[in-house]
Symmetry: none
Subunit: 213 residues, 4 copies
Amino acid sequence: MADTRRQLVLDAARSAFFELGMEKASIREIAQRAGYTPGAIYSYFASKEAVYGALLGESLDRLVEAVQQQAQAHTPGAPRLHAAARAFFDFYRDNPRDLDLGFYLFQGMKPRGLTPELNEALNARLLESLQPCQTELEGLGMPAAQALQEVTALFAHAVGVLVLSHTGRIRLFRQASDELFQRYLEQLVARTPAASTPPPPQSAKPAAKVSRK
Amino acid sequence: MADTRRQLVLDAARSAFFELGMEKASIREIAQRAGYTPGAIYSYFASKEAVYGALLGESLDRLVEAVQQQAQAHTPGAPRLHAAARAFFDFYRDNPRDLDLGFYLFQGMKPRGLTPELNEALNARLLESLQPCQTELEGLGMPAAQALQEVTALFAHAVGVLVLSHTGRIRLFRQASDELFQRYLEQLVARTPAASTPPPPQSAKPAAKVSRK
Amino acid sequence: MADTRRQLVLDAARSAFFELGMEKASIREIAQRAGYTPGAIYSYFASKEAVYGALLGESLDRLVEAVQQQAQAHTPGAPRLHAAARAFFDFYRDNPRDLDLGFYLFQGMKPRGLTPELNEALNARLLESLQPCQTELEGLGMPAAQALQEVTALFAHAVGVLVLSHTGRIRLFRQASDELFQRYLEQLVARTPAASTPPPPQSAKPAAKVSRK
Amino acid sequence: MADTRRQLVLDAARSAFFELGMEKASIREIAQRAGYTPGAIYSYFASKEAVYGALLGESLDRLVEAVQQQAQAHTPGAPRLHAAARAFFDFYRDNPRDLDLGFYLFQGMKPRGLTPELNEALNARLLESLQPCQTELEGLGMPAAQALQEVTALFAHAVGVLVLSHTGRIRLFRQASDELFQRYLEQLVARTPAASTPPPPQSAKPAAKVSRK
DNA sequence: CATGAATGAGAGTTCATTCAT
DNA sequence: GATGAATGAACTCTCATTCAT
C-alpha cells in the first residue's frame, strides 16, 4: 500500500523528468503530477536527490533486464555477445532520458541523495548489465583480464556514441550511431580468438564474474 | 576597448565556472569577479546562457590550437595521427571543466543562449579540431569516406572514455583511461592500410576536408 | 496504564529537548523516541505546547525535591538557608535546559499550552521550591513581610546570575557565577538579625507560608 | 541613500519584532512592512539573523546613550551611581522587547548572523553601558577589582528582576520590581566605603575601565 | 488507542533579469 | 556603458496538526 504510493510518486517524478528535464522537474511539479502537496513527497523520499537516486535505480533495473532478456534469446558465443551489447546500446538509444539520469547522478547530486549505500547498489546494477558481455567474451576464449578490458572499452564506446547521438553532434559527421556501434562490435569480435571458429563445447567452469573484487 | 571589457567578463566567467562549477557560477559571482555589478554583464551578453556559449567558443579555440600544435610537432603518418588524437584526448582529460562546458551546452541551455549562428561556429571549431586526424588517415591511404567514419568513431571513443573517467565510473572496472584510449588508437592504426608500411610519397592532392558540405 | 504511556511520551520529550534543544525537538522527533507515530502524541497531549507545559511541571517537581532534600540535610538557621538557596541555584546551574524550559514557557508558548490551571500548578510548585528559604529567614527572626521581599530578591538574583552564566555573558566580566551567588547569600545573611547570634528556641507558631493569599 | 533604505528595513524589522515577537517576524513580514519583496532584504542583510544582529546593535546603542545621559545629569558619587544603574534598569523595564532581543541573540542565533566581529561589537556596547557604574563605584573609594564584582552583581540583579517582571512571575510574590531593584541599589551603596561620607575631592587619576583586558 | 497519510501554511534563501538614473 | 536597486518567481524543505481507518 505504502509501496504503491511510493511508486506513484516515482512515476510522477519520471514523467516530470522525462518531459521537462532535470531543471524544471521540481518537487512541486512532481507532487502535482502525483496528486500530492509538496510536503507529502517527503514521506516517501528524504530529499529531491533521493527521488532521483530511486529513479536511476529503476532505470538500471530496466537496463539489466533488457540486456539479460536479449542475451538469453540468442545462442552463446558471438551472436549472444552481439545481442547483449546491442541491448545495452539500444536501451539508451531508445530512452535518452535514462542516459541523462545517469549523467545527472554523477554530476550534480548532493551527498545526501547519493548515499554510499545507494551508490554501491547502483554500481552493482551497472556491472550486472555488462556481465553478459564479459561472460560471452570469456566463453569465446578470451582471458578474463583481457575480457574486462574489452568490456570497459565497449562500455566507453557505447557511451561515447550515445552522447554524440543524443547531443546531435553525430549529424556533423553525417554518420548513423547504429552503424557506428555495429562496426565497433564487429571489430571486437574480429579481435576475439574463437569468434570466427566454431564455438568450443560448453565450458564446465563458469566464466569469471565482472567484479570489483 | 569594448572587446577588452567583454574579454574581462569572459575571463571572470571562466574562473568562476572552473572554480565553482555550473550551479554556483551565478551572474552575481561573475560580475563580482569582473569588477562589475550584475546589470553590467548584460551590456556584453544577452543572457547567462550566452556567456556560456562564448565560454565554450573559447574552449574550442584552445582545443583546436592544442591539437594543431601537437600535430605539427610530429612527422606525418601514424606518429602524427597519434599525436593529434592524443592531443584531443589529453586536452579534455587535463581540463575536465571544458568537458562539462560542452555537455552543459547541449543539456541545460535555453535556445536563447545557443543561437543558430553560434551553434554553427561551435560546430565548425569542433570539426577543425578533428581535421588533423582526418588528414592523417587519408595520408595513410584510407579513402576519405572511411576516414570520416573512423574519425567519428575516434571522437566517440574519446568522449566515452573521458566521460567514464570524469564521472569516476572507470574505477568500477579498475581500468586506466589513458591505456584504454591508447589501445583504441593502436587498433585503429592496425586497421589502417599503409600504417605499417612506409608512408607513400606526399600526395599532391590535399586530403578531403571534414565538412558538412 | 495510560499514565505509563503518557510518561513514556514525556520521557521522550525530555530527552529530545535536552539533546536537541527547543527548535529541533519536534513532535516527530518526540514521537519517534517514544516509539509512536506523530498522531499518537495527541492522544496524550493537546498540543506541542502542552507537552512542554507538562515537561516544565516535572522540572519544577525535581527542583522542589532537590531543595527540600538539601534543606532537611542541614541544621535550621543560616546553614539551612544556605543549603536551600544553593540547592535552588545549583539545580539550574547543573541543568541549564531546565532553565530554558522555564523561559520558553513565558516567551513562545501559545495560550493553548499554558492553560490557567496549568499556570496555577506551575506557580504553586515554584513557590514551594522557595518556601524553605522563607521559613528559614523567618526562623532567623525576620518579619514575614521582609522575608518575602528577601526571598523574591534572592530568586531574582539567582535567575540573573544563571542567565548571565548560561548565555556566557558572565565571561565578559571575568567572574565566576558560583562566587557571585555565594557573595549575595553572605550579604543576605549579614542583613538578617539573628543570623550571627544563636538561633532562638524553636518557635511554636509555624512560619507564614509564601503564598499569593 | 543606501543607508537610508537599510534603516528603513531595520525599522520595519523592529516594528515587526516588537509587535509580533521573534517567531512571527519573518523575512516576508519585514519586507512587507518595508514596502519590499522578500528578496530585496538580502541586499541589505546577509540573513535573517544578521537583521537581528543589527537590531540588537541599535538597541544597545540606545541603552548606552540612555545610561550616559542620566549619569551626566547628576552629580558624581552615590547620586550618579543611582542614576546610571536606574537608567540601565529602566531602559529594559520600559522596553521589554529589547530584553527579548538580547536573549534571542545568545540563544537561538546561527553563527552566520552573529559573526565574531559583531559579537565583539555587541559585547563592547554592553560593557560601555555599565561603565558609568564602574566609574562611580571607584570614585566612591572602591578598589577596581571589587567594583567590577559589584557591577557584575548589579547587572545580574537587574537582569533577574527584569526577567521576573517581564514574565509576570514577580506578581506571585506581590512585589514591585522597581522597589526590588531600588532596595538592591541602596544595599550596594551602604556597602560602599565613602558613600555615606562626603565624596572626596575629584580624583586626578581616572577610574580603571571595565574591560576584558 | 494508535496509525499512516496527508495537508497547508510558511520558512529562509537564491537568482536571472530589468530599468531608471 | 554602468550602477544599484528591486522584482518576482522559484526553490527545497519543515512542521504542527488533522482525521479516516
